[in-house]
């Protein structure tokens, strides 16, 4: 099923064009990795899908309806976004995990919280810890759980492992991979890490200067003889 569709999406801030005509179809259960140089519009694309910004022109359809027809608060639960820099609020870790339930007047599911903590290799003691006592890796894992707790249909991940050490990075990667395998979750992952792009996901987008330059199955993308600017980008980033 066509879950998300972008039709000639443009996004401009003042006179700077960030996205220049994005056309894209995403089906349920797909796992897209999005790569490209800094400033190519990758994060902006995720922000538009989470409805934190709206396109300057063009349409974004979710379940074949323009996303502007959905209530933004409800839409953002369905299309959930994890930021590059984890931001925890309140005092204790538990405040962050209870927050989504409270927002949507749902009963707090401690069982689900425990299960996700376990999957991400975190002790339950962490719930009572002060947010400032957590390492960067722990903070990002908590932020990930916070975005997953209400079971979104689409998960947008914006370079979430960029500031993690190799051990934490591979733990988070394994978790995302398993999560995708066992559920119908559609994932869009922005990354600068080529190994990550190769190892995760089944479709790769390469963006440059606000456009999608390549869009193909991950296997073919990394299997092909790469050309010109892409070659330069990838050899620089690898």
């Amino acid at each position: 099923m066509k879950l998300l569709e972008l039709q000639s999406v443009h996004y401009r801030i003042n006179r700077t064009e960030i996205l220049r005509g994005i056309d894209l179809n995403i089906s349920t259960g797909e796992f897209l990795t999005i790569i490209g140089p800094s400033g190519s519009g990758k994060s902006t694309l995720l922000r538009l899908l989470n409805n934190l910004n709206s396109p300057t022109s063009g349409n974004i359809l979710y379940r074949e309806k323009n996303i502007n027809t959905y209530v933004p608060e409800a839409l953002r639960v369905q299309i959930s976004y994890v930021f590059q820099k984890p931001y925890l609020f309140g005092t204790k870790v538990i405040d962050n995990l209870k927050y989504p339930f409270k927002l949507h007047s749902k009963e707090i599911d401690l069982g689900k919280i425990s299960a996700l903590l376990k999957e991400l290799n975190l002790d339950e003691d962490i719930l009572q810890k002060n947010i400032h006592s957590l390492s960067g890796g722990e903070q990002q894992r908590i932020a990930l759980i916070r975005s997953l707790i209400l079971e979104p249909e689409v998960l947008l991940l914006d370079e979430i492992t960029a500031s993690l050490d190799p051990v934490n990075r591979s733990m988070v990667e394994d978790f995302i991979k398993q999560l995708h395998q066992r559920s119908e979750l559609t994932i869009l992952l922005v990354t600068h890490d080529m190994q990550q792009a190769k190892g995760l996901g089944n479709r790769t987008l390469y963006m440059n200067q606000g456009k999608i330059v390549h869009d193909m199955p991950t296997e073919s993308f990394f299997g092909r003889g790469i050309d010109g600017e892409l070659d330069k980008f990838m050899s620089g980033q690898r």
Partner: protein, 251 residues
């Protein structure tokens, strides 16, 4: 006090002028203009008030209060220039504080609806509300600039504009109320407030003067809290568009 003694007292203005000249502060022109304006404005308002008090017309009194509220809103909005609709928000907030407080004072019989009582009291209320609204605006905008990431994270989790901003709104209300709360603590210890001083100078017993001052303290706390609260709760919406997106530019 007579006109002669007042004229002699104006010699006090030579002190700041002398300081400015000797220390090269270049404030002479400003001090002279300021002094002249203060004398002219106060003389004019003296005549206007005398006229209004004599006419003793309810509607005219109300118009006078309205003018004060308009002017105060305009000045308070200067502190929140970047906030859309800041003038109308300031007007709603200042009038909510003024009318509610004034209404209660009249209803409980603390004051009568006569110009000689309502106008000076309104002046105090409007002036303090104006400061509160200006501070609230300034703090609210600063909070949004500082907490842009927190707000966006909360929005991304499905929070409404109000749910994402509640901490910032409360902090701005607190800032708006702070000067009034702080000055309450020092009343009578460090400062003898203007109204009380005026009454004592005019020959009223200090025991009567303090009753008025206590009344003023109550009414200012009430007015300031209503104005700060109203302005903050109306202004936060202006930071979002209809799609619940933050309209401030990301740093």
């Amino acid at each position: 006090m007579n006109i002669f003694s007042l004229s002699m007292a104006s010699l006090l203005m030579l002190i700041p002028l002398a300081f400015s000249k000797v220390q090269k502060l270049h404030l002479e022109k400003e001090i002279l203009i300021g002094t002249l304006r203060a004398v002219l404005q106060l003389s004019a308002i003296g005549f206007v008030l005398k006229y209004i008090f004599n006419v003793n017309n309810g509607l005219l009194t109300f118009v006078m209060i309205l003018i004060m509220m308009f002017n105060a809103s305009y000045l308070a909005a200067q502190r929140g220039k970047e906030i859309k609709n800041s003038k109308s928000i300031a007007f709603y907030a200042i009038s909510a504080g003024t009318i509610t407080t004034l209404g209660i004072l009249i209803a409980v019989g603390s004051i009568e609806y006569v110009p000689s009582q309502v106008i000076p009291i309104s002046g105090m209320i409007v002036g303090n509300s104006m400061v509160a609204v200006g501070l609230t605006f300034k703090q609210l905008r600063q909070n949004y600039l500082d907490k842009i990431q927190e707000i966006e994270v909360k929005l991304s989790l499905g929070a409404s504009a109000k749910e994402a901003s509640i901490g910032l709104i409360r902090d701005a209300v607190k800032t708006g109320m702070m000067p009034t709360v702080d000055s309450m603590k020092t009343l009578g210890i460090i400062q003898l407030p203007g109204m009380m001083t005026g009454l004592i100078l005019a020959g009223v017993s200090p025991l009567v003067a303090i009753q008025y001052q206590i009344l003023v303290t109550f009414m200012l706390s009430s007015a300031v809290s209503i104005s700060a609260f109203t302005s903050s709760f109306l202004a936060y919406r202006e930071f979002f568009n209809e799609r619940v997106q933050l309209t401030l530019e990301r740093k």
